[in-house]
Every structure is written in structure tokens, then in C-alpha cells.
Subunit: 190 residues, 2 copies
Amino acid sequence: MPERKARADAARNREAVLAAADELFARSDSPRGVSMEQIAAAAGVGKGTLFRRFGDRDGLIRAVFAARSEAVRAAVESGPPPLGPGVPGRERVPALLDALLAFKLDNRHLALALEETSAGSPYAAEHYGWWHGVMCDALRDTAVPDAGFAAHALLAAVRADLVEQLAATEGMPPDEMRERLAAYAEKVVG
Amino acid sequence: MPERKARADAARNREAVLAAADELFARSDSPRGVSMEQIAAAAGVGKGTLFRRFGDRDGLIRAVFAARSEAVRAAVESGPPPLGPGVPGRERVPALLDALLAFKLDNRHLALALEETSAGSPYAAEHYGWWHGVMCDALRDTAVPDAGFAAHALLAAVRADLVEQLAATEGMPPDEMRERLAAYAEKVVG
DNA sequence: TACAAAGCGGACCGGCGGTCCGTATCGTCC
DNA sequence: GGACGATACGGACCGCCGGTCCGCTTTGTA
């Protein structure tokens, strides 16, 4: 393996930065209101350190997001039904969407940051490709024609900014949103 | 009316700016690559003029977008079937989505600019509220439960960055995209 | 303990959105 | 047509941000 043993202080700083960024994004109204300098200051490190370890703003956000979403990803890849593999598509598709929505509701600001500041588009993020793949698999197991497009369309229904709009501006309670999404998903796969 | 007669040079400059911005966005790969200074220069105008007339970057983009989308809007509000009013929802919903998709395909960069740089979120734009209203009306005329949510979900399927991803990165031809969207829409309202 | 490698941090840079105000132009009224 | 107030113009200017650079410190090793 190409991994060289990392220095202890480097690892400590990395964690400090991830934690600080996570918290700052969670507290802030808009991801754009959080600057790299603020994150560095909150983590007690220099700005140079941020950029050396994460490359650029995008890289940092992706790293924070990846750390946060590890659990959901594991649950989908090898968890119990109805989320895990080996479940009929008709049942799994709504479960997948619900899990993703629940995650975004719990991490609204972070998800917003990922989708908003990503270079190019949110679709370039590895995160999205993975979800699209999983969703395609599940959809191919249903009566839905064109799993590829349907996967894109269904995932679009849980875009972070839409979730934010429904939750914040329209004041929709989380549970209600999940119910409505579930009903919509049922309609599509049914 | 509170309108005061505008000066001739002001009107001329306004048009020049709209045209220049439209063109620059169309030519550029990413909306972020187009600066206000560039637009001002291309229009043969000072930067101050841009900000005085349009308030900020968002205002300018919204103005350009509004000018471009006038035609579609008119077609939906008082055009012939199946787009115009008085058409059964079952038939009108796919027609509306197709019209919106066709428009975004023709104005990819501009739509991208609107959705990307909008303060807050694309959902705050008046443009979106209008489409959501129209879509809700059409959906209430179908068997779809919860027209409000379904309208959001369906409109999300034609988000500018998704369209761009399908067209540019996945290389999907416009007509194929429209067919796939139509099939998806039929599935939802059917 | 000595030394190279790895990491650090903050001064620095270019560019952007947005502001400001002295100046030029327009429309009007005599 | 000339003169005057209102309106619009433009570009120097400001603060901020993402990203770079390099002299200095810390770490792990022999």
C-alpha cells in the first residue's frame, strides 16, 4: 500500500478541522457565509493547513460530508432490510429515498454546502454517483421503465435545497415530508 | 401609475446589458466564469450602471432570464392546447414539463446561472413559484395525491444542472431526454 | 542528541461583488 | 435655442475571499 505513516499532529489537526467545519456549517444559515479562514480559526490551525490537506474548499466539504454519511452508506451496503441489499425493488426504493431524506433532514446545512459549492455541479460528486447506482439497481427490479432516468428524477426530489425550502420556508415537519415522499415514491414504483 | 418616463440612453443601455449578459452566459462554460465587469465591458457600459439598474448579480440574471422566458410563459398562460389552460391535467402535466425541459435545453447556461447564483436558493425565485403554481393546478386535475409535493418532485426532474449533466456529461441527445421525461411523467400521472 | 522530512501558519496575491461621487447627458421649460 | 434641474454614467475604490508560498517548527528516527 502507498500509505506512509502519518504524523500524529497532522491526524489530530485533520480531525479538528473536520469537526470545526461540521459545526460551523451546522450553525450557519448559508454555506456561503462560512469562509475557509473561519474554519481554520475555529479549528485552531492556519489557513495553509486547510488547503494542504484538503486541496480546496470543495475537497474539505466533501471530506466532512463523507465522514458524516459513512453510517447511511454502510446501512445501504450491508445493513438489515428494507435498506440493505437483497430486498425487492418495490420495497427498497422507498426505503432508500426515505433514508436519504432523513439524512438530509439531519444534516441540512452540510448537504446544502455540498450541493451548493461543488465545482461544476452536485452531479460530479462521487456521493451522487454512488446513490444513483444503488437506486438504479433497486429500480431495475421494478416495473419502472428506464431505471437510469427514474433514478435521477427520484433523487432530484430530495435535493438539499428543496428539502431546505420545504422545511424552512414552507414549515413542513420532517415526518410529514417523509410521508409525502413515501407516497410519491410508491406512486412511481407502483 | 408610478412609472416615470425613462431616459432614452438608460433604456438603450438596459437592452445592451441584457443582450451582452445573455450572450456571455451562453458562451461561457460555467456561469461563475462570467463576472459583472465582463458583462459591463461587453455591453460598453460602466460597472456602476449594471448595479444601479439591476441591484446585484442576481437581479441582472433574473432580468435576463425573465426576458428570455417570456414566450414560454405566455404559451402556458394563454396558448393553444396542450400547453395552455383548459386542458385535462393528465395531458397537460407532461406537456408543461416538456415545454420547460425544451426551454432549459435551449437556454442551458442561462438556466444554470439562475439556479446556481440565486441568493438563498432557486426556490426563492419568482420564476419557480409560478411554475409550481401552474403545475399544482394541472396536477389537482389528476389522480395524483398531494399535488403540492408532486409538483416539486416533478419540477426537480428538470433542474438545470441535471439537464446539463445528462446533456453534457452523459451525452444524451435532447429528443431522447424529452422522451424519457415524458415516459416518467406519464408514469407519475397515470 | 542530531538531523532530515513532514507539517505548519499567516503574510500575501489576484480577482470579485458592490459602493460612491464627480461628471456628462438628457429632457424640459422659457 | 439656451439654460437649468434631474437623471444616469463610469471607473476608482473598498472589503473580502479562495488559494499560494516559503521561512520556521515539530516530529520521528537512528
